[in-house]
Amino acid sequence: RPVKPRAADSEAWELAPLELLEPARFALEMYNRGRAAGKRAMLGAVRGRVRRAGEGSLYSLEATLEETPCNDPTVCQLPVSKKTLLCSFEILDELGKHILLRRDCGPVDTKVTDNRNWTLNSFLPLLNKDSFPQDFSVKMTSVFKEFVTTYNRTYDSKEETQWRLTVFARNMVRAQKIQALDRGTAQYGVTKFSDLTEEEFHTIYLNPLLREKHSKMHPATSVNDP
């Protein structure tokens, strides 16, 4: 199969919500396969990227799925709480045919043992609720003030400060999700980059050129000596 020029092929693009719909629906369908009608999960937020090569596209999706653990209202204890899962899917779309290559789902709820001052334990319930608890903004404002002092941040206006607080709060939830999905011993939380949006962080600090194939050099000889 002829392959398009590399520049058009290899780049991984952040997708608009509409473009995600088809692969996300397919992922959900695969997740729900074999489940009774009342036990099927529903799609929450989705984001993802696509990498195109030739006539194929590989979608990497990150999605939240909502599951209702009890589907019989006559025996369920009310209110029935939803279970939120964070899933990663890799879906290959080749000539319109979808293939699920990878699926990793886990509940967005985990125990975190960070004894430092900036522990996120108090924000854990956020991940399983549709709205923030009432004292959320008070707690978050306090953590944000500590962040501003520690990292000597100054903002141009009150509006900018308010915006950064909002970004910071969102980031705390993101950090908690990342924490929940880490299988090592790493701890995630407040860092000097906590007031930057994901896009700002990527633009300022990261290096998209690394996704390009680097020029081949001689292979190093193996090290065999004891």
Partner: protein
């Protein structure tokens, strides 16, 4: 490979640097590698200039990013690297101010290393710190410990950050790579990132390279 290794303890690694608000990780990764190679050949640890690469390596794009493979070529064709003191880091591109007389370090070649992490460990222990590129997923909020993000979230396809492996070992039976980052000492573990070893975590094994000093 020996069970553990740390080039920091052997004096082959300069202090953690800070790239500032500039996507110049590629330059820091490469100078870190050359610093190690020079130390191993000559026994002297010199802190080398990233700014020289930002200004004079025309194959790369300064703060907009670059590739270690092109940086090695640039160092070779320029004739070497000046020291940090002679060509200070500014964190933005300026006109090339390279002076051949101030070159303190040269390289003869550069090599691609194995994608096998056991072989990488063996190479590191014998030959010195390695320039690698990784997917930086989660690093915005990393504080300490050994990171092992789920593979789909930290896919080797989305490599976007260059760093320097300076050692490896195990912590409570979890194998790790000790990675020198360039975001200052007020990030991570005194500027270092610890990533799971042996699982191809975040594509750590996909773009391992080194300069060669004869």
């Amino acid at each position: 490979a020996p069970p553990e290794w740390d080039w920091r303890k052997k004096g082959a690694v300069t202090k953690v640097k800070d790239q500032g608000m500039c996507g110049s990780c590629w330059a820091f990764s490469v100078t870190g590698n050359v610093e190690g190679q020079w130390f191993l050949k000559e026994g002297t640890l010199l802190s080398l200039s990233e700014q020289e690469l930002l200004d004079c390596d025309k194959m790369d794009k300064a703060c907009l990013g670059g590739l270690p493979s092109s940086a090695y070529m640039a160092i070779k064709s320029l004739g070497g690297l000046e020291t940090e003191d002679d060509y200070k880091y500014l964190g933005h591109m300026e006109a090339c101010n390279f002076s051949e007389e101030k070159v303190k370090v040269y390289i003869n070649d550069s090599v691609d290393l194995s994608q096998n992490e056991q072989k990488l460990a063996a190479w590191l222990a014998k030959k010195g710190p390695i320039s690698v590129a990784i997917n930086a997923f989660g690093m915005q909020f990393y504080r300490h410990g050994i990171a092992r993000p789920l593979r789909p979230l930290c896919s080797p396809w989305f490599i976007d950050h260059a760093v320097l492996i300076v050692g490896y070992g195990n912590r409570s039976d979890i194998p790790f790579w000790a990675i020198k980052n360039s975001w200052g000492t007020d990030w991570g573990e005194e500027g270092y990132y610890y990533l799971h070893r042996g699982s191809g975590a975040c594509g750590v094994n996909t773009m391992a390279t080194s300069a060669v000093v004869n």
